[in-house]
Assembly symmetry: C2
Homo-oligomer: 226 residues x 2
């Protein structure tokens, strides 16, 4: 068991919630960080706060207005969220937010410096999201190397680790892990295009999530449209 | 001469303004980016906009609220800005903003992706600011490696360069370069603790700046207190 501090990037989604539960089981003194990056839907941030509270973990929100530079269907209202598509690992989807994980990990790195934390925990996944460059193992390894030359702690010999416990898991394996850890999945939100509190059930994120629960032989506690 | 696009991080200070002029001379189609990171003094952002306009360069501001995680005299009003100190390269000063250049370069990386730019230009300097880990050559090299596994362009074989043209220059050499490039120094602001539009003349940033102009045999066009 570690008693070190760790910062978990908590989006309010299924993966990051599973990560937070994993880090608690590992014994980290956990601090949750959410990034308000100008996402179209505010539900994610509300849920992140509720999940942190349910887990008894302190929570901060840092605003990073990525919509000021545009470029993604998730921040730019002029780009349509694709529906009813077969998710593919081959292409980079329009829901890709430019340099998203680089920016998120950088802010988490700053928070880790303030807290003198020894780990950053991120729900990156290379199986279902291999179309995103910043979800790949080479990216996470490069960020860890950067972190240890970028910071006071790093240059003073107290290294920081970047932990991505879901990196090589399928969505079904993630769901199984989360259920084992009693993750508060009813509070999570994955949908790119929710209507009120209900998930659309048709965007890439919903399709993957539903397949994950099906593969784990479980039912998803969140409400869907229709 | 390059005709590639480049993103320059423009703070409104002397170094980043010199960098912007340098990148224009190199022939880059330049886009200026300022980060509103919750700095105590808003003058920097106003001046950055004026400098971009003077140079005829498009300008964007992205808000990244680093004050939400605290930890620096530049964003946290509870920490005092040191005055009348001898700048020292040995220690990390309280004006250090956690992971500042990592966060700034990450946002610039996102903007570079949107623009399909080939270079990030940053006024990092390892001579006067060697107390800051994120101003060192090893940091910049690590960020460039990260950038090229983090982004669509990088993984598709269109690499991005991180250019820090001032890295090994003394402040006097920077001032000489900027004067040669006719940098609009009258618009720049360096002071950590200005009163209205006047620089304090006593903080580390003022002390370095004044020594730089003296070393270049020039006079600083900005107004000082007293």
């Amino acid at each position: 068991m570690s008693e070190d501090r760790a910062v978990v990037l908590l989006s309010g989604g299924l993966d990051s919630t599973t990560c937070a539960c994993w880090a608690l089981r590992e014994g980290y003194a956990l601090h949750a960080l959410s990034i308000d990056y100008g996402q179209r839907h505010r539900l994610e941030l509300e849920r992140a706060a509720q999940i942190a509270e349910a887990l008894g973990v302190p929570h901060r929100v840092v605003r990073v207005d990525l919509s000021a530079i545009g470029g993604s269907a998730l921040t730019d209202a002029a780009i349509e969220v694709p529906k009813d598509q077969q998710p593919s690992g081959a292409e980079i989807p329009v829901t890709y937010v430019p340099a998203r994980n680089t920016v998120f990990l950088s802010v988490a790195l700053g928070y880790a410096e303030v807290l003198d934390a020894r780990a950053l925990v991120i729900g990156a996944n290379a199986v279902d999201y291999s179309g995103y460059p910043d979800c790949r193992p080479a990216f996470l390894a490069a960020f860890e190397r950067l972190a240890n030359v970028a910071t006071k702690a790093g240059v003073e010999g107290r290294p920081l680790r970047v932990l991505a416990p879901l990196l090589q898991l399928s969505k079904a394996e993630i769901v199984r892990l989360g259920l084992e850890l009693e993750a508060p999945y009813a509070l999570t939100v994955s949908c790119y295009d929710p209507v009120g509190e209900r998930a659309c059930g048709r965007c890439d994120a919903c399709t993957l999530r539903l397949a994950g629960f099906a593969g784990a032989g479980a039912s998803d506690p969140v409400p869907y449209l229709g």
